[in-house]
């Protein structure tokens, strides 16, 4: 295993990329190493590029760790190049990254200055080399011509860019290839390549203005329907469907009413979107107040996802007899809030509270970790779980024995059948210091049935004698 990248502290210790990890560990025993993940690095770079979109519209990534910003006409917005540099450095620095920035007349020169302009020449993290700093003084490696070519140039006696720039270009091209000359031209600003900026797809919007304001809800819905159809055409062109739709109603006095809906699956079906919007209008706490009417309506689709055409012929029949429940749940989520429409989920945990939870259906489902029950086994977990558990008074023959009777909500229950204990230890690994610090109390669960046939899930909180002197009992669930 070799070292792919190092942080500044490791560099100061004399380590270099490309070293064997074992050698490096030999020199620096406490070295912390994590596996190299180029995909994650690329994703981070891409995110940084989007962030730099705040500073300039022309941002290009320069893998593996570079970003090129065309700040032509942008710097004055930040109060000059130096101020812009400081603002950007602070922003990147706040993410825990070290920034080496350079500014030059061409992208290649800026890249060469940033990469080879030398933090070694005492450039602290947040300073920028003077833009007049000459590219010519950089070592020949700054040409970015590849190891082989740079080796050839070095053998020929070229040490800096200036050495190469001093020669006429024809002999250089003859000996080292036309590519070398082109790179040199780009570096020296004789040729000016342009940045190809990252582009985001244009947001999907549709708008309509009216000569006369409209106020009737039906007319408004008609307009929205037309807008949704326009948006649906745009979405279909991109092979996408909307997951969220936002309508803005501009009232003639300047007030803006906003309606937004979200769907569980991407859609571009105008009828569905319209039904959800109608539902949203019905569920508004303050009904729409058109006043003197709306003079323009806009529709935006802020969230989209890929949605492919399905063959209507083959599936039409099934669709009619088997409507998808997603549309119903979307409608209910719009009316009662997304937190009201739930699905069963849970994590792989022996803590009953975490093994079975509820989550809104708009979150992705988590696969059930619970193994299928054994044949012949009665239900071991209750149908309804108390959250939090309810304290009960329990009478047991011995303090660490099974319960005999209990009193809950004012009624006494005489236990005729019971099974247990099922001991569930507290999750000590979730606590700082692990088992050194008091990890909480163990629970001894009992399935019990009273003389009426009602089944309960009781637990004793704490092991008698070892963890507590007077364990408290709780009812945690009710069985069918």
């Amino acid at each position: 295993m070799r070292i792919a990248a190092l942080d500044r502290r490791a560099e100061r210790l004399g380590l270099e990329p490309g070293m064997m990890l074992a050698d490096a560990r030999g020199r620096v025993p406490g070295l912390a190493a994590i596996p190299h993940d180029p995909a994650a690095d690329a994703a981070l770079l891409d995110r940084l590029a989007r962030l730099c979109g705040d500073y300039s519209p022309g941002v290009q990534t320069d893998p593996p760790d570079g970003l090129m910003l065309d700040i032509t006409g942008c710097a004055h917005l930040w109060g000059g190049e130096a101020a812009m540099h400081i603002a950007l450095s602070r922003r990147i620095g706040a993410l825990g990254l070290t920034l080496r920035a350079a500014l030059a007349g061409t992208p290649d020169a800026a890249r060469a200055l940033a990469r080879f302009g030398g933090p070694d020449k005492a450039m602290p993290d947040h300073t920028m080399p003077d833009r007049t700093m000459d590219v010519r003084a950089l070592p020949i490696e700054a040409l970015a011509a590849g190891e082989e070519k740079v080796g050839a140039l070095r053998r020929a006696g070229f040490r800096t860019i200036a050495d190469l720039a001093a020669l006429p270009s024809a002999p250089v091209a003859a000996r080292f290839g036309a590519e070398t000359v082109r790179l040199l031209d780009r570096l020296l600003g004789r040729e000016d390549p342009h940045i190809v900026p990252l582009s985001s797809p244009a947001p999907i919007r549709a708008a309509m203005r009216f000569a006369e304001p409209i106020a009737r809800t039906d007319s408004i819905l008609d307009v929205i329907e037309a807008l949704v159809e326009q948006a649906a055409t745009q979405l279909a062109g991109r092979g996408e469907g909307g997951r969220a739709f936002a309508v803005q109603l501009h009232r003639s006095d300047g007030h803006i009413a906003r309606l937004s809906i979200a769907t569980g699956a991407p859609t571009r079906d105008p009828a569905l979107v319209l039904r959800l919007l109608r539902e949203r209008i019905d569920s508004l706490a303050d009904p729409l107040d058109p006043g003197f009417g709306y003079d323009s309506i806009t529709l935006a689709v802020p969230r989209t996802e890929p949605l492919f055409e399905r063959q209507p012929e083959l599936e039409a029949h099934r669709e009619r007899t088997r409507p998808d429940i997603g549309a119903l749940l979307d409608r209910l989520a719009v009316r009662y809030g997304a937190a009201s429409v739930l699905r069963f989920t849970g994590e792989d945990s022996h803590q009953p509270e975490w093994a079975g939870t509820l989550a809104p259906t708009d979150r992705p489902p988590s696969p059930s970790a619970r193994p299928a029950p054994e044949p012949g086994e009665p239900p071991l977990r209750p149908l309804l779980l108390f959250d939090p558990p309810q304290p009960v008074e329990v009478l047991a023959a011995v303090p660490d024995g099974p319960p005999r009777r209990f009193r809950w909500r004012g009624a006494a229950h005489h236990i005729v059948r019971q099974e247990g204990p099922e001991r569930i230890a507290p999750p000590w690994w979730r606590r700082k210091g692990g088992h050194d610090i008091n990890p909480g109390l163990s629970r001894d669960y009992y399935r019990v049935e009273d003389e009426e046939g009602r089944r309960f899930w009781l637990f004793r909180h704490g092991l008698y004698g070892r963890e507590t002197g007077a364990p408290i009992w709780y009812v945690h669930g009710l069985f069918a």
Binding site: P378, R381, L385, R455, G477, A480
Partner: protein
């Protein structure tokens, strides 16, 4: 079971017989919904009024799985009051995308009247959905439901070492549109075969009150009970 017993496109009311029998009533309704889901694959909608004591307990997925019900087949709605539950339930029944809809309400429900139940009955027949109203121990309202059941928890058939066994239900048919009333059953749910078993320790009713048997033929484990409340 539904094909020959309860009308699968009808409205059925399931009441808890006593104060502590709500889990039994709920489980019985869920098991009927589960059988319906198993028959045609459409999911189950469970609209639950989260008020009073119900707000302190939550439906528990592992417990459903232990009854043989797939929690992933259920869409659970937690709603603030009976009005919302009724409206959402009616919408779900009319939508027709669910095989069964549970309308799980607490306490008195003045809105759950003849008109509301009539609407549910019509919608259920139209979309071939089983509509189930689940109520705790409360006075029944006038209703257009096809059947009304009072469900109590029944002592289970003990396993080894006196451990509680499979869930058992004592049912009383208190109302049936155009049919006999007052029949009693003692059923045990067998998760492994996926059907209700008429408990062998009590005589089976001579004539079944429904168009067919609610219970599948008695098979499976034999057990002993000490008490039989429904007898």
């Amino acid at each position: 079971m539904l094909g020959s017993g309860l009308r699968s496109d009808g409205l059925h009311e399931i009441h808890a017989a006593g104060n502590g029998d709500s889990p039994a009533a709920l489980a019985f309704a869920l098991l009927i919904a589960h059988l319906r889901h198993r028959a045609d694959g459409r999911p189950i909608v469970w609209a639950r009024e989260r008020r009073g004591t119900a707000s302190r307990m939550r439906p528990y997925g592992p417990g459903l799985a232990d009854l043989g019900i797939d929690p992933a087949a259920i869409a659970l709605l937690h709603l603030p009051d009976g009005r919302a539950v009724l409206r959402a339930g009616l919408d779900a029944v009319r939508d027709g995308s669910a095989s069964a809809v549970l309308i799980d309400v607490q306490g008195r429900q003045p809105l759950l009247d003849l008109t509301a139940t009539r609407r549910l009955t019509l919608a259920a027949a139209e979309t071939d959905t089983t509509a189930l109203i689940v109520r705790d121990h409360a006075a029944p309202n006038p209703s257009a439901a096809h059947t009304r059941w009072h469900v109590a928890a029944a002592p289970s058939a003990a396993l080894e070492a006196d451990a509680p066994g499979a869930p058992a239900f004592a049912l009383t048919l208190t109302r049936q549109r155009g049919g006999r009333e007052g029949a009693r059953f003692l059923l045990e749910w067998n998760r492994d075969t996926g059907c209700f078993i008429d408990r062998p320790d009590r005589p089976r009713p001579a004539t079944l009150p429904l168009s067919g048997a609610v219970a599948a033929p008695a098979t499976g484990r034999t057990g002993t009970t000490r008490r039989d409340r429904a007898a």
